[in-house]
């Protein structure tokens, strides 16, 4: 079935917004400091946006914090994202957050990030377990990088999720790098999807530069999950265009590392009319620019926020 053109336009819009945020944050960090590090997601936008498009609003997303395509894909506006990056009250966390993001909005099913990488696997299984008990038809998705597939929690969680047939999706963004280490120097397989065999679940490899491919694979995994057939591991092959963090000199990287890079925006644009592409891109840029200016004008949080949310009702 050919994919709906409105959906393509919407994915293109979200990817353009994520890209515009990348560019504005990158520019910002060149002249001013932000709290923490921004982990650029340029080149990987099709994964977060494509997968989120296949989820329902109330499905649970537990993400890893490279870029912002997951948050934008699942419905967050640029304002709360930039607010946290710049440490302003307008941020999703009220300005407590920073470059390692903790954006969450439970009304959008954006459940948050664990910056000790690999910590979201069991959390996603927790919400999936809740859905199974409540029979609410929701799916939980745990997003992670290839380097994070070596965490013990990956295995502990999937052993149980596969046994109990939890409505869970593991979605790996394989950019072949963890900081400056090549995946294959520390992992016995170049394909994280191989691990699925041991759990008796499908392990699907998709082109992570193609939002439509990611969307379709996620849609199928979500349908399996909702039908009570259990978890799926999806591996999206992708490319990290920038450094590990904004400002990373990347001395570890070959000069021609990006020779075969395909921009996910260009890949998606091939399915669209030229004028639509241009209009959407211009609108995204304007939206993000306005949000950035509002963020700059917003105040930093009052120090009293230090004690907020530590305990319920506090």
């Amino acid at each position: 079935m050919p994919i709906d053109t409105t959906l393509i336009g919407d994915m293109y819009r979200r990817m353009s917004i994520a890209r515009a945020i990348e560019q504005i944050v990158e520019k910002h960090t060149r002249k001013a400091r932000i709290s923490g590090w921004w982990h650029p997601g340029e080149g990987q936008e099709a994964v977060g946006v494509g997968a989120s498009a296949a989820l329902n609003g109330e499905d649970y997303l537990w993400y890893q914090g490279r870029g912002c395509a997951w948050a934008i894909g699942k419905g967050m506006q640029p304002g709360p994202i930039l607010g946290d990056v710049l440490g302003k009250v307008s941020g999703a966390t009220g300005g407590k957050g920073g470059g390692v993001p903790h954006w969450a909005d439970y009304s959008l099913g954006i459940m948050g990030e664990g910056a000790t990488l690999g910590s979201v696997y069991p959390l996603a299984a927790g919400s999936a377990f809740a859905s199974k008990l409540r029979k609410d038809g929701r799916v939980s998705l745990a997003n992670f990088g290839d380097g994070t597939a070596s965490r013990g929690t990956f295995h502990e969680t999937m052993v149980h999720a596969a046994t109990w047939k939890l409505p869970l999706i593991y979605l790996c963004e394989n950019n072949e790098l963890l900081v400056g280490t090549k995946l294959t120097d520390v992992c016995p397989t170049a394909d994280i999807a191989d691990f699925a065999k041991g759990y008796g679940i499908p392990g699907i490899i998709v082109d992570g530069q193609d939002a439509v491919a990611v969307y379709e694979a996620t849609l199928e995994a979500a349908a399996r999950a909702r039908a009570g057939e259990g978890p799926t591991l999806i591996e999206a092959k992708t490319t990290r265009v920038q450094g590990h963090y904004a400002g990373d000199p990347q001395n570890y990287r070959a000069k021609d590392a990006l020779a075969n890079y395909r921009d996910p925006l260009a890949v998606l644009a091939e399915r669209m009319a030229v004028d639509e592409v241009e209009t959407i891109a211009a609108e995204a840029l304007a939206l993000v620019q306005a949000a950035y200016e509002e963020t700059l004008a917003a105040p930093p949080p009052d120090h009293s926020i230090i004690f907020k949310d530590l305990y319920y009702g506090q």
Partner: protein
Amino acid sequence: MANNDKMETMLYNAAMGLGLAEEMRTNPDIFVLGQGVASGGWFGAEKGLADEFGSDRVVDCGICEAFEVGMAAGASVVGMTPVINLGFADFSLIAGDEIYHKLGKWRYMHGLNVPMSAVIILPVGVMGGAGPEHSNSIEVLGMHFPGLKVVVPSNAADAKGLMKAALREPNPVLYHSIQTLSFTRGEVPLDSDYIVEIGKGIVRRPGRDATLLTYGSMVNRSLEAATTLANEGIEVEIIDLRSLVPLDWELILESVNRTHRALVVHEANKTAGPGAEIAAQIQERAFYELETPILRVAGKDVPLPQQNDLEQACIPSVDEIVAAGRHIMSL
């Protein structure tokens, strides 16, 4: 059967299980996960739960402590009340990230003020030959890391009452049952609304001469020591803290301001143990009320040996507590 003042003698762990079962009857969001819980639990706390509530809500898992607590954190964020029994507090170190970063900080770091109910049962202390990796009293960790509540029931009635309070609490609770008390019996109220409020200590024995602050396994030894000291004319007030987070400062200070002497007794290692914090805060809050230095009687700073006699030599004995009582009165 809500307002029922009947009592029944039962095992400490059974009382814990009774509190759990009563709450599960009224709250369908509670589920229990752990190694062996579906067949009644390693130490009997979950006996009968699977029969009554089914295998959907009383679930066995493999050896996967990080998963157990991590999934509890995820489930609690979406409104469930998971109960995880790790069997030994020692294993909580494997789930350190999940307990202290995820349960303790998720709400805070995402800035969304939602209830997060979860009860993590972490039995502490020696149990007779369990060795250095199965005998730790590491309840101080929950005091050090923000965002959690910490309870330490010292008898069967409290085991029930604190379990029920923990299950109704909108914050994650580390429930440190006491290994050595697991199979001791006590009178337990059958009232299904019997709650021991988190953050409230209790005077177990009144006394005018010194305040002895303790909890868990050392409550009974301290009471025994107080009887001996009373024969010598020394009246020690014994406070069972029951909760370590939050501490009942109203009760502690009222007592210390009256007796002007304070001792802290616990099984946990002395260095940087709960007593260090409690003593530091007493001197910050009531220094000019004190007649003497604050004394600590605590576990030795060594790994706990497996040999029974050596194990006991590492934790406070009744004699040591008596000696500390005499000593503080001589200062």
